[in-house]
């Protein structure tokens, strides 16, 4: 998958995407404030690639997914399969891109059977006769590890993991090229989450698709994804192969994130011992690096907007880092 010699076909190109919302504030006379969520986000997902997006709540992960899905207004360019889809080609778009969300119960219509829900995409696109559609649903049910009898059941009769399987199945009915999975395993138990992760891998082995996998869990991202981007307050602060991010993280925020993951090593007993200082508190400076207020390495260089710098040796997969201090040290 990481074959660098062949020219890539990019399924998703996000170029300089920014997005704003208006904060009405409190009180009826409060001034509407324009607030920025995504700030000049660019990323590319190649064909047949699993791309991970990780970050804390409020960093803009889901906003980016919503922008890609065309659910919110944005500035910039988003191309799927080389084409910019506007609202007019919505039906074309849904054939190419599908989404799986965090809470499967709220994604399924409680009044419709599983079979109905899964047939819906085929019906909407008028693909095949009714009999063929039912056939296709049965094949998909098999693929996602449920049997044909589930077609007549209702969402409430299923467990959380089974519901998420149905959501994934429904998303794959049209054989999309890109699946956007927004925290698809976060609401599930560990052992059920593992089944879903396996399912993604299995299906990918049979029918090629690319995935934007959004999660706050870096372990899951590392397990599933080829490349990972780390977001912080609307910026991509670091991007590289899963290996580079997990083992050779450069950005102070990525390091903080990695250190905070609870692991299985014996914990240090001293509750006050924090080891290496990874986080400090200082006042935010407008225009400075967005991590300035927490960064232990912050200095004057950080007072202007840092750019993403590729630190990987020529010919290797990019490793982009948005930190003037860390990239300086490498030169």
């Amino acid at each position: 998958m990481n074959n660098t010699s062949a020219p890539y076909k990019n399924i998703l190109e996000v170029e300089h995407v920014s997005n704003f919302y208006y904060d009405n504030g409190l009180g009826i006379f409060a001034k509407r404030k324009k607030k920025q969520v995504l700030d000049d986000v660019s990323l590319t997902i190649r064909d047949d690639e699993f791309f991970g997006l990780v970050g804390e709540s409020g960093c803009g992960k889901t906003t980016l997914a919503a922008a890609i899905l065309g659910m919110i207004p944005y500035e910039g360019t988003i191309r799927v399969g080389g084409k910019e889809y506007s609202k007019t080609s919505r039906s074309e778009f849904t054939k190419v891109v599908q989404a799986v969300f965090q809470d499967p119960l709220s994604s399924l219509n409680p009044r419709k059977t599983i079979g109905y829900t899964m047939r819906e995409p085929l019906r909407a696109h008028k693909i095949g006769t009714k009999q063929e559609q039912i056939e296709a649903v049965n094949v998909m049910l098999e693929k996602i590890g449920l049997d044909a009898s589930y077609a007549d059941r209702y969402p409430r009769e299923l467990s959380g993991g089974q519901r998420q399987r149905v959501c994934i199945g429904a998303a794959l009915m049209l054989q999309p090229h890109l699946v956007i999975a927004d925290e698809a395993t976060s609401a599930l138990d560990v052992s059920v989450g593992a089944q879903i992760l396996n399912l993604f891998n299995e299906i990918d082995a049979g029918a090629d698709f690319s995935m934007l996998f959004i999660s706050h869990n870096l372990n899951v991202e590392y397990y599933l994804c080829d490349r990972i981007a780390v977001m912080y307050r609307g910026w991509i602060v670091e991007q590289g192969t899963a290996e580079a991010i997990y083992s050779h993280a450069k950005h102070p925020y990525t390091k903080l994130l990695l250190a905070a993951i609870p692991d299985f090593n014996p914990p240090k007993d001293d509750a006050d011992d924090e080891g290496e200082v990874l986080e400090v508190a200082r006042a935010d400076v407008p225009g400075a690096c967005r991590f300035y207020h927490r960064c232990p390495h912050a200095c004057d260089k950080c007072l202007t907007r840092p750019e993403l710098v590729n630190i990987a040796p020529a010919g290797e997969e990019e490793h982009l880092v948005r930190c003037p201090v860390m990239t300086e040290n490498l030169k």
Binding site: S57, S159, A194, Q195, N198, N201, Y223, L224, P262
Partner: protein, 337 residues
């Protein structure tokens, strides 16, 4: 695989020289009313909580970990009820305790923090007043001292500028700060037992690390025993001394945290640990447990895990598994140990 280590009596997991445990749960059974029928949510479990320890309770959704601890607090919702067994605190059975006894204990000697701090805080009352409420309800100190105690409690919970925070409303705080406020509120009366039900699940991983440190600090500083409920073994590892693994309303294994992680005995615990995605497992299939957790309405086998267990035999479907003592405070319910 021998039967010699089998012990049936409850409470054998505690060492002989420890004093009477803070809390003893004896054969606790909790039923659930559902559509006119009664099912079992928690099935005759026994465990002790010792003074000053952090006890982890781990299990998947629906295994009864939350329900058990709601029963300890006397906060079971209407559909759930205690069918049998005892909750012994200082020799007193709390299972049938009246409202009056509960009021005295809850907030003062026992307290609880929940997963979602925003829904536990009153949106219309300032933080300072909400935190101080526990003190005034239990007549802990004169009204004039409450404010000082509240500020102190907020500072103890590692909140910067506690005076400012006391004067704010819940919506003005971040998730992590709200959870700290909840912890301040729960510990202001210096309870003997704090039940923390998935307190970090809704938080970001960096904030989670801070909250775990805070809970540990409170445990060390005031000797507060903590029952820490979580579905995440890695989080349990950060904080707990001892772990109870629950499955489908039963305890399947109890051991010190290190033992559970490095040398699990029960097949369910093994499966749980194996299914966690880690660095070494990248790309490989995660060995997951086949099947699903039986729901409360389903008929359960004598060993609830029998249907999914790789070593299960006929006996597992016919007889209840015995409690086996594996030494060093490690016990498990299984025929094949």
């Amino acid at each position: 695989m021998t039967d010699t280590g089998a012990v049936r009596s409850a409470g054998t997991d505690k060492t002989a020289d420890t004093a009477r445990p803070l809390l003893e749960i004896r054969n606790l059974t909790i039923g659930i009313h559902e559509g006119g029928a009664v099912y079992t949510a928690v099935d005759g479990i026994d465990y002790d909580v010792h003074e000053g320890e952090i006890l982890g309770v781990v299990g998947e959704s629906g295994c009864g970990k939350t329900v058990t601890n709601l029963a300890i607090m006397g906060l079971l919702p209407e559909v759930l009820f205690i069918q049998g067994g005892q909750i012994l605190y200082n020799g007193q059975d709390l299972a049938g305790a009246d409202e009056e006894t509960r009021r005295k204990i809850n907030g003062d000697e026992f307290s609880m923090i929940y997963q979602e701090p925003l829904t536990s805080l009153n949106p219309l009352i300032k933080i300072g007043k909400q935190v101080g409420e526990t003190l005034s309800a239990h007549d802990k100190c004169p009204a004039s001292e409450i404010e000082g105690r509240v500020i102190q409690a907020l500072a103890d919970a590692d909140l910067a500028e506690p005076e400012k925070i006391a004067d704010m409303y819940p919506h003005q705080l971040s998730g992590g700060m709200r959870q700290r406020v909840m912890i301040a509120m729960a510990t202001i009366c210096r309870p003997k037992l704090l039940i923390a039900d998935e307190p970090t699940t809704a938080l970001d991983v960096t904030v989670q690390a801070q909250v775990l440190r805070l809970l540990k600090k409170i445990n060390r500083k005031y000797g507060t025993a903590i029952i820490f409920i979580s579905h995440d073994l890695a989080v349990i590892n950060q904080i707990c001394d001892r772990v109870i693994v629950m499955y489908a309303g039963k305890i399947v294994e109890t051991a010190p945290t290190r033992t559970i992680l490095t040398n699990p005995a029960h097949e369910y615990t093994k499966g749980l640990i194996r299914s966690i995605p880690t660095m070494e497992r990248k790309g490989a299939d995660l060995p997951c447990i086949p099947g699903h957790v039986p729901s409360t309405e389903e008929k359960r086998e004598p060993c609830p895990f029998a249907d999914r267990c790789p070593v299960a035999d006929r006996i597992c479907h016919e007889q209840e598994p015995p409690l086996k003592d594996l030494g060093d405070a490690h016990t498990a319910f299984c025929h094949y140990l």
